[in-house]
Amino acid sequence: MRTATLFLLLLPVLALAQPDSAVLKRGEYLAVAGDCSACHRNPENGHPFSGGYRISSPLGDIIATNITPSRVNGIGNYSLADFRRVMREGRRRDGRYLYPAMPYTAFASLTDEDIAALYAWFMTGVPAEDHPVPATRLPFPFSVRAMMALWNGLFLSAQPLASGSADAVSEARGEYLVKTLGHCGSCHSPRNVLMAEKSADFLRGGEVGSWQAPDLTQARLYAWSESELATYLKTGSLPGKAIAAGEMATVVENSFSHLTDSDRRSVARYLLTLGHAPADVQAPPPPHTIAAFERGPGATLSDAIGGERMSGAQLYNAACASCHGAQGEGSRDVPQTFPRLIGTSAVLNDNPANLIMTVAEGVDRTTASGHAFMPAFSSQMSSAELARLLDYVSTQFGRADRHITEQQVNHTLRHSRHSLWLQRAPWAGAGLIALLICLGAWRYQSRKRSHHESTSL
């Protein structure tokens, strides 16, 4: 009898020590869906979870930690409760607060089962690597992590969401993925001055360094179908509509392309329910006849070796048309290797940042459908030449009034990674937070007073 009792008591321990393979597989899948390795990877050896990668934030570099089960430098000593506290409250095992570069504001809404599956995967499915990671040091006052308590109080709130199933397409599943594991809002939502996502403008567009993460509501996606959006998430490419570049290319490569078809469709289904169609629906511009931009050989040496006097049309023909076609029509194979530019999202976007960045940095993205590659042009041309080229692409293949100036190009390419006013005026920042505390306290007092007044009648 005693042995039986002992056995029953040990059962949960045994179960924990040997999580069943279904749970492990689920945890592994969730880690891909959450794209944990995007931040927690080790840039030195490519290990997906042993940390060291630097996330550049406007406040400085935040160094992602080692989340392998290493007892020395990782999370090997974490219990399930500790892991849960990280994900739901943004607090480490030792009680210190995490910076919201770790999107716990999204993960907070994960179900218990999913958190348990992730825990099982990280503790037993991932090999431990004792890679030491330096501590993140942000400038004062942001080095005071305890401030995050206040920040969390203002901005952290979990939503009760059902997780749905990876094998059945549903809007609810899509909402769950987008709001938790996908943490799409981290990039695609605008942030307020305290760097929190603006909940009222969920997925209305945000910035990632010099790139722009577009609006994912109907204001931008009205012309997309569910299957088109699902295809884009799978391959990073929807000819005639959009190409994933920059960080989104890696998200597709490392995360979305590995999800199930139905999960991608669920995400698509959910996204297409958000927001309202734009006021004026733009049709793509009609194809234009070839301008007579061929002007024969140059007459002077500088004309023969440089582009100072070349128009945007000539620069486009020289540097871009070899792949994208003389009329921006792209290549003629199916599937289209070199995308059409006419009427595509990067070209039509109000914000030219992504078009500028794609031309400047190129594309390098590998998925099951192949290795998409476009060279970087920022080192090949002056910013004046780039600007003329981009202006041509925007006005010829997008809208005739969407000019791009050299100023915009320079601003985008030199976009500061560190928010200067926050860095140089820490005391101003501290002052602002003190003000907010006072404000919060005053409102609390006034509410108490009014309540008191109302209840004192």
């Binding site: 024969g296 023969a304 020289a318 290795h371 590659f373 060279p375 970087a376």
Partner: protein, 530 residues
Amino acid sequence: MTHYDADVVIIGSGALGANAAYQLAKAGKSVIMLEAGPYIPRWKVVDNYRNSASKRNWCAPYPNLPWAPNSYSDGYIEAQGDEDFQYVTSFLKVAGGSTRHWASACWRLLPNDFKLKSVYGVGRDWPIAYEDLEPWYLRAEREVGVVGCAEEDQSGQGRDAWPPRSAPYPLPPEAKPYMVQRMQAKLGPLGYQVIHEPHARVSRPYDGRPACAGNNNCEPVCPIGAMYSGDMHVDKAVALGVDLRTESVAWKLEKGATNRIVAVHYRRPDGRDVRLSAKAFVVAAHGLESPKLLLMSEVANSSDQVGRNLMDHTGLSMTFLADEPLWTGRGSVQHGSIATRRDEPSRAQHSAIRYSLRNLVPNSDVTPALLKQGLAGRELDAAIRDRASRIMNISTMSETLPSPTNRVIPHPTRRDGAGLPTLQVNYQLDSYVRGMRPQAYRDFANFLMAFNGEMVEAPTGWRNQYHIMGTTIMGDDPRDSVVDAHCRSWDHANLFIASTGVMPTSATVNPTLTGIALALRLADTLIREL
């Protein structure tokens, strides 16, 4: 403590000079690289090409300057020689050098190519063996991004994979174009094995370059940078701090008291001269300008071999209409090769032969003749389509032997825009290469028969391949060679030559990969010694 302007001055920024510069810079050496011509970005060359009326002129889209004339400049090269062959060569004077307009065939020499004298009793031996250079062949292939099939017997003699390799090619072979499949299907039964030709048009994205997409414009410029060109290493070298001085024409190497080279003098377009001192000097100005510089400076020539032993791959070319559509022009300009005669016993009597299969878009070849016939409208269009689908060209790469009377010297009287001598060449085809004509004719007859062909241009004339070799020849004896096995001048311990001009045999393959391997090897020597 002597002050030097740099550890090393490299004269010439082509693929060989730029590769050496890059390795030296990686090893922390200070390098100044002189280039006679200007720097021109790739997209600008593409723009020039598209706006040129002379699109089959490989030098046309590149700047051609009074102080840095290319080889096509009227009167720049005065060539004397045979009645049935007028020597022409093609080199550029621009940052990145002549690989900016090549087709990037990247073969290794065969072991026997290093031992022509010992094995076949003709020509000269190299002072090194294939095995000595193999590690640098591998490094050169990786630097340049060579696409190849390591299983091929590149000697054509029915062996297993040959020559031996210590590691696979860095990139897998591209797909085989339909035309090459037809060649193989029809010529295989006649005894000719079509094999993969290794080249530097990357077959998948590599080192910041996109994969080849068949723009079919390797010569004069790859529009997308899939194909290697020397400017890629110029950019890498400059990014590591190499001081690239364009529009700087080196005209004199100054000898010091102890027979070391102490300085180089170069001239600017405005006529101003600049003197640079360095610990070591590398002359990398390709096969004609390098010996010219040495001869003008009166250095490195105790052997009296500088400028002599000029070799090229002068051969034959046949164009015909096949009896079936082949559709050349799909893919890059050259795929596959027939190496059956690359290393036969008959090399003791006459030149070896390697056959190249041309894959150009042929519309500009076929249309002028049709227009002259007075065709118009749909008749003309149909004729263009028909002929373009069936036209085919096969040419030989044939080897020549080093002869002291085949030589280049500074022109005794003519001067270029920098006031420096132009070039005078004497080049006569020897009986060794002439002797391969009967064999080539027999093979050409078989090729024609296989396709029931109609002759468009018979291979009766000679054509150069613009591969300059021999003019600063390597050897094991300072009395009959210019450089030793490490490309170091016998006469000046701190003078090296990075050029295909050091090659003592020409063999039947494009020499650039060998030249880059030698340049990497001499860079290693310099890094050890500096």
